[in-house]
């Protein structure tokens, strides 16, 4: 291991992994090397939201987040709990809230966080919270509907 590398341990989707990473490498590069491609680098400037990840309880742009900073932290990607769809994913399907799907993982991560913080968001709240996520197919009206649907499903006690 050279001086520009370090071995880190991250709790990736609740499983501990050890990886050797370059100091300059971003979290998104490390995840891609792990075969996790749900978070994607698009603008590489933290402006589009395609690479949205959760580090501990905070949502970050994986393209700007240095991998070494994730040492010892919990990292959640869209691939967590892959066996079942949650109410947000289900709502996106039911509302047709995507076209090409490239931006969708980032949106889903953000919407989950939004509904954790605000179980009953207005359209204005949704727009404000998701303003950092871009969808070039412009499926925004359907996304707003999906968020409202997911929120109403979440509000019904199971």
């Amino acid at each position: 291991m050279s001086q520009t590398e370090r071995t880190i341990e991250i709790f990736l989707n609740d499983k501990p992994i050890r990886v050797t990473v370059g100091h300059h490498q971003t979290l998104i590069e490390v995840l891609q090397a792990q075969g996790l491609t749900g978070a994607r680098e698009s603008c590489a400037q933290g402006l589009c939201g395609c690479c949205t990840l959760k580090v501990n309880e905070t949502l970050v742009s994986g393209c700007l987040f240095l991998a070494v900073l994730a040492d010892g932290q919990r990292v959640q990607t869209i691939e967590a709990n892959e066996q079942a769809l949650d109410e947000v994913q289900q709502a996106f399907i039911e509302c047709g809230a995507f076209q090409c799907g490239y931006c969708t993982p980032g949106f889903i991560m953000m919407v989950r966080a939004l509904l954790d913080e605000n179980p009953d968001p207005s359209d204005e709240d949704i727009g404000h919270y998701l303003s950092g996520n871009l969808c070039r197919c412009a499926t925004y009206p359907e996304i707003i509907k999906a968020v409202q649907r997911a929120a109403s499903v979440r509000r019904v006690p199971s």
Binding site: L47, G96, C137, P141
Partner: protein, 723 residues
């Protein structure tokens, strides 16, 4: 796997005197550095393109635009490859450059010394070997006697319009992985045209088609960017030179130098009676094609068919020019040139209506092309719901009711626009439907699903014909080893062209199943597919393979641009807008946007609505905020930080999207394409509404608050100092 990073030209037009890659080659971890010299060792004539073979894999002898690939570095570590780019040195001798499409008509700066038509399109052959011109194609149409009509006209109106350069900007930038195999080459690529990629790469290498395999996964958006050859040729050359798998994935910034949407200058002149009847029209369109033709000449010609608008005009002259300049190449972007034309002719419609004091809707009603009438090419309008679309728009906008134009500092306005498009012909689609012995089936087609929902629509067609459940069908993604030829996924052609091929393949399979049933004196209603196979083969074994192909009728236009078969079907889109302008700042907000299209009989109505909405919002970006800024050919805003695409907070306050009730007699189940129609009317509808609100007429895109504010000051006789 090796990663490739591209060294790009910093000059708009220059002779390459020398390239020194020795320092880059010496960097630890660098596997190879290639220039055109290495490419020529592999491919003697390394030029590609769908209309002209004008684009070199790496710059050869000279560079034609800033951002043109000049050299490529391969390394296992992308950072090593990226860093090595900085130590490549190129010595240029600058040449005069031309950036403006009008200047390019007569410029001393000539982008290509000799024109080299690809030979794919017979009507470009006459341009072969032409020298000292930037005109890649000129299309001319003449109908009736416009000059005579202008002389006799009550009124003549002439206006100029401009559209700005913008780009597709799919969130997934271009990417190709090329893998040398023992039989040839496999490409995994983000392409809308896998069949074209295979044929073009095989042509470059002098190989038979079957040595090149092209596989396409789901795309992260395309919009016309990922057509023909983009990253595929360079990735292929690198992989074959290195004899290693090579990944070439571009950055967002690099996307700004790959393919753009044509900037245009448009002149439109109409002769009109005092009642508002248009008797003659002249259109001149100059398309800024950038340094390589890509599909620009086709855009110039096909959109030329409809440049005079969806109006019944007896005397028409259209002159349309595809021009080379020293900007990044331009291609097709969601509308194949139509949004630029509608911008001009529908702004022009309102400007004339206002001058004549005729209601803009009445002006359109009076002139609109009715069913069965010939349009400018002489082709008759068939199954073209122009009138229903226009009338439904008027109804939804309550156009005949009084409109509140606001008061105080906020003024309200409304506007409408309607456009149409000839589809792409003649183009071929093939499909294969395989029925398995358990009754499940797969559809093999090279249509690329990039978010438009083609997998779903095609599966629906198969299920409808075979009367099977959607759950038992699998759509095989494009893989040229197994999916047959398709021209490309573009121009809203898939539903119609591939839809027909898929329907025929499914019918072919159904007929074979029916014949099998007859062998056992049964009909398909009396036996399941699985039972039928068991009876025939004694066990779960065998397949039925249905094949289908489709190529629509098309007649090339004559020297006057006349043809009775310009298109297999007509696409129609209209937009109505209401907005409010803050007269103190010029800022405005769209309070209502209504988008209507004629899609024939929609195969999947929900997907159709999303297509209309997505297309309209995208076009809103091209209307309000998007513009590539250039400084001597260099893009100065090549990032999402400086190039503003629509976000979730930029939506109209209210939006309604609808396909009118219609049926395309020649379409599969009465359907036709829809991917582009939602873009047509957006830009002029907004500009017309701005004029209605504050009396300011904008003729250049994008429509900015600043331009409105300047216009209002001029209107009030208090222009800003610099105006």
């Amino acid at each position: 796997m090796l990663v490739a990073k591209v060294f790009r030209s910093t000059m708009a037009h220059a002779v390459i005197r020398a390239i020194d890659v020795s320092r880059a080659r010496a960097q630890p971890g660098v596997y190879a550095v290639y220039t055109a010299e290495d490419i020529v060792g592999l491919i003697a004539k390394p030029f590609y393109g769908p209309a002209f073979h004008d684009q070199p894999i790496l710059a050869l002898g000279k560079v034609h635009h800033v951002g043109e690939p000049v050299a490529v570095v391969l390394a296992e570590d992308p950072h090593v490859a990226e860093n090595a780019l900085a130590s490549i040195e190129v010595e240029y001798e600058p040449l005069p450059a031309v950036f403006d499409e009008i200047e390019a008509m007569n410029s001393k700066a000539v982008v290509h010394e000799v024109l080299k038509p690809a030979g794919t399109f017979p009507d470009l052959k006459h341009l072969s070997g032409k020298k000292n011109t930037n005109i890649a194609l000129d299309f001319h149409l003449l109908r009736g006697d416009p000059q005579k009509a202008f002389k006799q006209a009550d009124h003549v109106f002439e206006h100029y319009f401009k559209t700005q350069p913008v780009l597709h900007l799919p969130l997934e930038p271009f990417a190709t992985v090329a893998v040398p195999t023992h039989t040839g080459l496999t490409l995994h690529t983000a392409s809308q045209s896998p069949s074209f990629v295979r044929i073009e790469i095989a042509r470059l290498l002098g190989w038979p088609e079957n040595r090149v395999q092209v596989k396409v996964p789901y795309l992260g958006g395309g919009f016309g960017a990922k057509l023909y050859i983009k990253t595929e040729a360079l990735a292929s050359a690198c992989a074959l030179l290195a004899q290693r798998a090579v990944k070439l994935a571009l950055s967002m910034e690099e996307q700004f130098y790959v393919i753009t949407k044509h900037a245009t200058t448009l002149r439109i002149k109409s002769a009109v009676t005092k009642e508002g009847q248009i008797t003659a029209r002249e259109c001149e369109v100059w398309w800024n094609g950038g340094a390589f033709a890509d599909i620009g000449p086709r855009v110039t010609q096909k959109s030329g068919f409809t440049a005079a608008g969806p109006y019944d005009i007896e005397n028409v002259q259209i002159d349309s020019y595809a021009l080379y300049t020293n900007l990044p190449p331009a291609g097709a972007l969601r509308g194949f040139g139509i949004p630029q034309l509608v911008w001009a002719y529908e702004s022009h419609t309102d400007m004339m209506a206002r001058a004549l004091k005729i209601d803009p809707l009445q002006m359109r009603r009076k002139n609109v092309l009715r069913e069965g009438r010939p349009q400018a090419t002489g082709t008759l309008m068939r199954d073209a719901a122009l009138v229903p679309v226009l009338e439904r728009l008027a109804q939804l906008m309550h156009w005949d009711e009084p409109f509140d134009h606001g008061s105080g500092t906020w003024r309200r306005g409304r506007g409408m626009a309607i456009g149409f498009k000839a589809s792409i012909a003649p183009t071929t689609s093939m499909a294969i439907v395989v029925i398995n012995a358990d009754g499940s089936c797969q559809l093999q087609s090279s249509t690329v699903d990039m978010g438009q929902g083609s997998d779903t629509a095609m599966a629906q067609i198969v299920c409808e014909v075979l009367d099977i459940d959607m759950g038992v069908i699998k759509v095989v993604h494009p893989d040229t080893d197994v999916t047959p030829y398709d021209m490309a996924t573009l121009g809203s052609r898939s539903t119609y062209h591939m839809g027909h091929a898929v329907k025929r393949a499914a019918e072919h399979a159904r007929d074979q199943l029916a014949a099998m049933a007859v062998e056992f004196k049964l009909t398909l209603n009396e036996v399941s597919i699985a039972d039928l196979f068991k009876r025939k083969y004694g066990m779960q074994a065998g397949n039925v393979v249905g094949v289908g192909s489709f190529i629509p009728a098309y007649t090339s236009p004559d020297a006057q641009g006349q043809t009775l078969q310009a298109t297999p079907f007509w696409m129609i889109g209209a937009t109505g807008v209401e907005l409010e302008v803050d007269t103190e700042t010029g800022q405005f907000r769209i309070t209502q946007m209504i988008n209507l299209v004629d899609v024939g009989n929609p195969i999947n109505p929900e997907i159709v609505k999303t297509q209309i909405s997505g297309a309209a919002i995208m076009q809103m970006g091209f209307t309000l905020s998007e513009k590539m800024d250039f400084d001597e050919g260099q893009v100065t805003n090549a990032s999402l930080a400086d190039y503003k695409i629509p976000g979730i907070r930029d939506l109209p306050q209210f939006m309604h999207n609808e396909a009118v009730s219609a049926f395309e007699q020649s379409g599969p189940f009465g359907a036709k394409g829809v991917g582009e129609s939602g873009t047509f009317g957006v830009s002029p509808a907004i500009a017309n509404a701005i004029d209605d609100a504050v009396g300011v007429r904008l003729t250049d895109l994008p429509l900015t608050a600043e331009a409105i504010f300047r216009g209002m000051r001029i209107h009030a006789g208090q222009p800003l100092q610099e105006d």
